[in-house]
């Protein structure tokens, strides 16, 4: 198992290196000038020349890449062209907000998607199944953007049940940063008021972000479970006189978990990088907005940083999913 993990980690390094090379080449292939983007419409030619000189943009592409990789190996992701901040600091500031939102969205997706999927399979063709399938269809087809505005208008503005945009109330003081996850930081600061505030702020955006995933999970769980329920061993289990709950809980769900797990892994990855719209509408200070601003202002080092961290998160989640296979199906070995 340890060898397996080490081999996967080595492979991950290789993948991430590929990501740097790909992202570097693609971002530099654009026919536009980052100096002009950073200095704005009114900047003069001398200012642009000076900017290129200071940021090494006038060096050959290969040299720029070698310099970048040299920095990266020392743990330095370079400096943002737009803000002149260290990229590592930027990511540290923005990534946790997205991670927290995504984690809660995944939890919501699981809490909604799994039970609905199971119910759909067990009541196949009957009204509860219809409900599950309708949800799966609607959740998958509703644009995030529209859902976000609808949720905000209804639950915040009209009904006043939940707070509006942002991670915390305007008048709340953010807890001291340890992990960057406000839910955890507020607990560390023993500040339950801020914890509640943060949790309430998370509900709408996480539900909106998780809706599509919940729908997909419902569909996956339902079909995976239906397939398992038609297998011989289920019939055998039933004929042995096991209770229905035990058959479903012990045999069926466990065997249906593998495809669901696979979907969950890739969902998490896509949520992490796909939070842009939700973050924009809910004014969520996460990596989505950072990535967009960086991309449209041709801030190459920042774009590279975002790409790398997304790649890293994706790889780590995939590894965890693969390891979890072994837990659900002991026949899978890691040798």
């Amino acid at each position: 198992m340890l060898t397996y993990i080490l081999r996967r980690l080595a492979l991950m390094v290789l993948v991430l290196w590929g990501v740097t090379l790909g992202a570097f080449l693609i971002s530099h292939a654009l026919p536009s000038d980052p100096a002009a983007a950073a200095m704005g419409n009114n900047a003069r030619e001398e200012q642009l020349a000076d900017f290129r000189e200071r940021n090494g943009l006038n060096k050959p592409l290969a040299t720029q890449y070698v310099i970048y990789m040299g920095q990266l190996l020392r743990g330095d992701m370079g400096t943002s062209l737009r803000t002149q901040n260290g990229i590592v600091n930027d990511l540290r500031a923005f990534f946790p907000a997205t991670l927290e939102l995504t984690l809660v969205a995944v939890v919501f997706a699981l809490l909604i998607g799994l039970p609905l999927g199971v119910i759909g399979a067990l009541y196949q063709g009957r009204p509860p199944d219809l409900l599950a399938r309708t949800f799966a269809l609607l959740g998958g087809a509703t644009p995030v953007y529209w859902l976000a505005i609808l949720a905000l208008t209804l639950f915040h503005e009209r009904l006043g049940w939940l707070p509006g945009p942002g991670r915390l109330d305007v008048y709340s003081l953010a807890p001291p940063t340890h992990t960057g996850l406000v839910l955890i930081d507020s607990l560390l600061a023993r500040d339950p008021a801020v914890f509640w505030d943060a949790l309430r702020h998370l509900i709408l955006p996480a539900l909106v972000l998780g809706a599509y995933s919940a729908a997909l999970l419902t569909r996956m769980t339902r079909s995976a479970l239906l397939e398992v329920l038609s297998q011989d061993y289920i019939r055998t289990a039933r004929s042995k006189g096991l209770s229905s709950a035990r058959v479903i809980g012990k045999h069926a769900v466990r065997n249906a978990a593998l495809p669901v797990l696979t979907v969950l892994g890739s969902l998490f990855g896509s949520l992490l990088t796909g939070a842009v719209l939700t973050e924009t509408i809910f004014s969520w200070p996460g990596i989505g907005g950072y990535a967009t601003t960086s991309a449209i202002s041709l801030d190459f080092p920042a774009v590279m940083g975002v790409t790398l961290i997304a790649g890293l998160a994706y790889s780590v989640v995939n590894l965890l999913v693969d390891l979890a296979y072994g837990f659900f199906d002991p026949r899978i070995s890691f040798s």
Binding site: A37, Q47, A93, S172, Y290
Partner: protein, 534 residues
């Protein structure tokens, strides 16, 4: 809620169930008081890069820096023609053999750190901008033509600035009102210097000024909180804290303004603004700007726009009234010359009433009776006045089509658009321009003088008479003469120039009915200390 009060709740609170928390909401103790004395502005502040007055060159940065720092002189409120004292209680301009000398007398003022503002602080602040080569330092080096040697301090309350003949003292004073002239507590900045950066890294998210507010904290992409500076000489009636809350979307701002969470919304779309006008709980303000949204026509040899008659035809073909009424919902003004309304030198004359028939005649006279086809570069983002650029472009496209010009819209992100424009590669482009400082020269030189390598150059438009006029007007110190020169320049550009001005937008701002004293001027400045809340 204070931390102490919060920790008294302890953890068992959590176990009371999610449903309860959801429905009851959490009342924050003491929040009511805080709400009364806190002004919350929701807006797109994503252009905020630094709060350092010497480095900041973006709208949001200038807005905040203007409340954290004082400049020597200032334009107050909407009067952007009359210079008012700020840190300088008085100033005098006298001619010298090499140019002119401005002597500033400083008032008694204190920084938020408690130290007095001295002439040494002023000189440090200006020289650090020159040394740092910040995005705005060209205003001091290239426009004002000053160096570290131009500045001296005979005593702690007097600053002397020598400027050469190549610079106009009136323009120098005008640009000193911009945050590039913000005065920093030099002792504080030096104390936080790292690697000879003049404290830039520290001043990015800390403040050391004498303005009415000081920085509490800036949570990037979330909010900026400013607290009242107890040492300031400009006092706020009842606002103790100002929070700029990042809200990129007009929809989010509407929702938060309607729910009472924010007091001021900054970026309404024209449609949302129209809806807010009929809401008695809100006040809608059409605030001035100096922005001009225009079409640039590349006049290079071989281009369809080489012939001035074709450029005139485009100006006749554009239905400005239609754009302002339908797309902007009235959030714009009609103007046709290069100096925006509100600056001395602007020209109110309507040279080109909408006339497609006349446009066709001109095209025929230019030998293009059958029309022509041209690439039309358009940003993917939002244009001046909050209109989506693609909507505006579609209107322009249909106007031009009526006279036979086929404009093929090519949408690209702004950075890419600017790169093409800068390389003189845009045939027809839809962009906006805003002057760096509130003076006619902020538009006169870049839009008219080919040698300045700015807009006239980007549109390959070289006109010796225009260059000469722009250069002369820039340094003319007699205001009557100067106005006459700008009159000639704007008329020349209206007839010959490579631009078709589309409109000068208003910036829509919506505030709660209980807010008074809110004013945003054409420079984008808001004096937070003048605002009060009921």
């Amino acid at each position: 809620m204070s931390k102490k009060a919060a920790s008294a709740h302890k953890l068992p609170v959590f176990s009371r169930g999610l449903a309860l928390a959801l429905s009851l909401g959490l009342s924050l103790a003491g929040a009511q008081d805080a709400r009364q004395s806190t002004l919350v502005i929701g807006g797109d502040f994503s252009d905020l890069i630094t709060l350092d007055p010497g480095v900041s060159y973006e709208f949001s940065g200038s807005l905040v820096a203007g409340n954290l720092y004082d400049t020597l002189v200032i334009y107050e409120g909407n009067d952007l023609k009359t210079l008012k004292p700020r840190l300088a209680s008085s100033w005098k301009v006298t001619p010298t053999a090499t140019g002119s000398r401005i002597i500033f007398k400083l008032r008694d003022a204190k920084f938020s750190t408690g130290r007095p503002v001295t002439a040494a602080d002023v000189i440090y602040s200006l020289t650090r901008v020159i040394a740092l080569k910040t995005p705005s330092s060209f205003l001091l080096t290239d426009v004002a033509n000053i160096t570290a040697k131009s500045l001296s301090a005979p005593d702690a309350k007097t600053v002397v600035m020598d400027i050469p003949k190549t610079a106009n003292p009136n323009i120098v004073l005008a640009l000193l009102t911009f945050n590039v002239g913000g005065v920093v507590d030099s002792t504080e900045a030096k104390a936080h210097e790292t690697n000879g950066d003049y404290g830039t890294a520290w001043l990015k998210d800390h403040s050391a000024g004498s303005g009415p507010f000081m920085l509490n904290r800036w949570d990037r992409s979330a909010q900026v909180a400013l607290d009242v500076n107890p040492n300031a000489f400009r006092k706020s009636p009842n606002i103790k804290r100002v929070i700029l809350r990042y809200m990129l979307e007009s929809a989010a701002q509407q929702s938060s303004l309607n729910s009472g969470e924010i007091d001021v919304a900054w970026d309404y779309t024209p449609d949302a603004f129209k809806a807010a006008q009929s809401n008695p709980k809100l006040k809608t303000l059409k605030t001035d700007t100096f922005q001009l949204q225009y079409l640039g026509m590349n006049s290079a040899k071989g281009s369809p726009f080489e012939d001035p008659r074709v450029r005139e035809a485009v100006r006749y073909a554009i239905d400005q009234d239609g754009i302002i009424a339908s797309l902007l919902q009235g959030l714009g003004r009609k103007t046709q010359t290069i100096i925006p309304i509100g600056l001395a030198g602007s020209d109110p004359k309507i040279y080109y009433p909408y006339n497609p028939a006349k446009a066709k005649q001109l095209l025929a006279a230019a030998g293009k009776a059958g029309g022509f086809s041209v690439d039309f570069l358009v940003s993917t983002g939002s244009c001046a006045g909050g209109v989506p650029c693609q909507d505006l472009a579609a209107k322009v496209q249909s106007d031009l089509a009526k006279v036979g010009i086929k404009a093929n819209i090519r949408q690209m992100v702004n950075s890419e658009l600017l790169t093409a424009y800068r390389a003189q590669k845009a045939q027809l482009i839809q962009v906006a321009w805003s002057p760096d400082y509130p003076d006619a020269d902020g538009n006169g030189t870049p839009l008219s003088d080919y040698a300045a390598k700015s807009l006239a150059w980007r549109n390959s438009w070289e006109n010796a008479a225009a260059s000469k006029l722009a250069q002369a007007a820039a340094i003319e110190s007699n205001s009557t003469k100067r106005l006459a020169q700008y009159g000639q320049l704007t008329a020349l550009l209206a007839k010959e120039g490579p631009y078709a001005i589309l409109f000068q937008p208003y910036k829509p701002v919506v505030v709660q009915a209980g807010i008074s004293g809110f004013n945003r001027n054409a420079n984008g400045d808001v004096q937070f200390e003048k605002i009060s809340k009921k």
